[in-house]
């Protein structure tokens, strides 16, 4: 979706301000949010791309006004409610009022180590890769109303295949519960002037990781 989250190349947000000696969490609740996300991921409550899509669906003013972990919390509430694990009334009441949809697994202390290892997104290839390093490609001009990994600033642009990463679960369908739909994944490199016009810095190159359905030969 063409949401506020897809912000690459926008102007006006000011300087980057690193925080010296930044703590891991700025408040205890941030850690609880992160840990709940990990635990629910292990439990198979919803795929990580559905968490991302839930954040993207936050109203732009909420998205920009919230801190990072506040966005996570809001997205988690949304998924919990939409997937009938709990009702809005229960979250308001702060207690369970009825059983929710069952989950197959639960992250208990003895399982934390494996529960924290990142899963693999490799999937069995359904067909040979269409592109190889050095191939010229054009990204598609698409504007799906749902989650997509093709950022706006790199749509309809001419690039070159730099790396081939194998066949991966396709976030654009995973996020909307339409399955892994495995696709080849590539790093596609663009000259800055292809993305930002002829005044762009000629020494800058930008790459995205692009899934095969987002690319066509050029």
């Amino acid at each position: 979706m063409d949401g506020i989250h897809d912000m690459g190349g926008m102007d006006g947000f000011g300087k980057v301000e690193p925080e010296p000696n930044e703590p891991v969490f700025h408040a205890p609740w941030e850690g609880r949010v992160l840990a709940m996300q990990r635990a629910l991921g292990y439990a198979g409550a919803w795929p990580i791309d559905a968490s991302r899509f839930a954040q993207e669906r936050l109203p732009p003013q909420v998205y920009l006004g919230a801190s990072y972990y506040q966005r996570w919390a809001l997205a988690m509430e949304r998924n919990v409610i939409e997937r009938a694990f709990a009702g809005a009334d229960e979250l308001s009441a702060g207690r369970a009022l009825r059983p929710g949809n069952p989950l197959a697994r639960k992250l208990t202390p003895d399982l934390v180590k494996q529960g924290m290892t990142r899963g693999s997104f490799y999937r069995q290839a359904q067909a040979p890769a269409r592109f190889k390093p050095g191939d010229r490609v054009r990204t598609k001009n698409i504007h799906p109303p749902t989650h997509t990994r093709l950022p706006r600033y790199a749509r309809g642009r001419l690039g070159v295949i730099d790396l081939v990463h194998g066949c991966h679960a396709f976030p654009d369908t995973v996020a909307i519960d339409k399955g892994d739909n495995p696709q080849w994944l590539y790093t596609v490199m663009f000259e800055a002037k292809e993305l930002w016009g002829s005044d762009a810095d000629p020494t800058v190159k930008i790459s995205i990781d692009a899934f095969e359905p987002h690319l066509e030969p050029a």
């Binding site: 690459g8 190349g9 709940m36 702060g94 490199m189």
Partner: protein
């Protein structure tokens, strides 16, 4: 809801805190999560998982050409073979800085970051200023970090738009011949492995 700068004070803090507590209580009562497991996850991020892992990887690559080749060939496999506390998942790609090319990593869509080797991303990495500008004005972003590269150096920005995670392999500073991995690791900052910084100079760690 408040921005993180406001967390320390005010009623909005309590609103977030209360909402998060309510969520955890409901999910716990329904049997979906175990608070004791959450404690362990938080503890791991606070005490075990962090940029020290990445720094050891880079230091080893600086000293050991065979390891460096393996790292650039298959980052996940090479790092996993080191048997670090933080278990490294798939899809780690190491990208090497050279005199001709400087690499910088961003996630314009959200916050993708090589957590298993660098820990949780800093707030600035997840912020709109970095996400908007890194792909359009990387030299300007580097200036925000006090980094100025020669005008002839190519800058390559990697936007992490899939599950691939990029780790920058910075250049080894001169004057470090014969240094041990432990000593070299002290030079390697988190930002140097994101590409918004450079390793410390030997005299900075004495």
């Amino acid at each position: 809801m408040a921005r993180h700068d406001d967390h320390e004070h005010g009623s909005e803090l309590s609103e977030t805190q209360l909402r998060v507590r309510a969520l955890e209580t409901v999910l716990t009562e329904k049997g979906y999560i175990d608070p004791a497991a959450l404690d362990l996850i938080i503890e791991a991020y606070e005490t075990k998982i962090g940029p020290h892992t990445g720094a050891r990887v880079v230091a080893k690559a600086w000293r050991d050409p065979a390891f460096k080749r393996a790292l650039l060939e298959d980052g996940s496999k090479a790092v996993r073979a080191l048997g670090h506390e933080s278990r490294v998942g798939d899809h780690l790609v190491a990208v090497e800085n050279t005199p001709a090319r400087h690499n910088m990593v961003v996630c314009t869509l959200c916050s993708c970051y090589p957590w298993d080797v660098l820990g949780l991303p800093p707030v600035w990495y997840k912020s709109a200023p970095y996400r908007t500008r890194a792909v359009k004005d990387p030299r300007g972003v580097l200036a925000d970090f006090g980094v100025k590269l020669p005008g002839s150096t190519e800058i390559r920005v990697w936007d992490s738009t899939a599950e691939t995670r990029f780790l920058v392999l910075p250049m080894r500073p001169p004057g470090t011949d014969g240094w041990s991995e432990e000593r070299l690791a002290q030079l390697i900052t988190r930002d140097a492995m994101i590409g918004t910084g450079l390793p410390k100079r030997p005299e900075e760690v004495a």
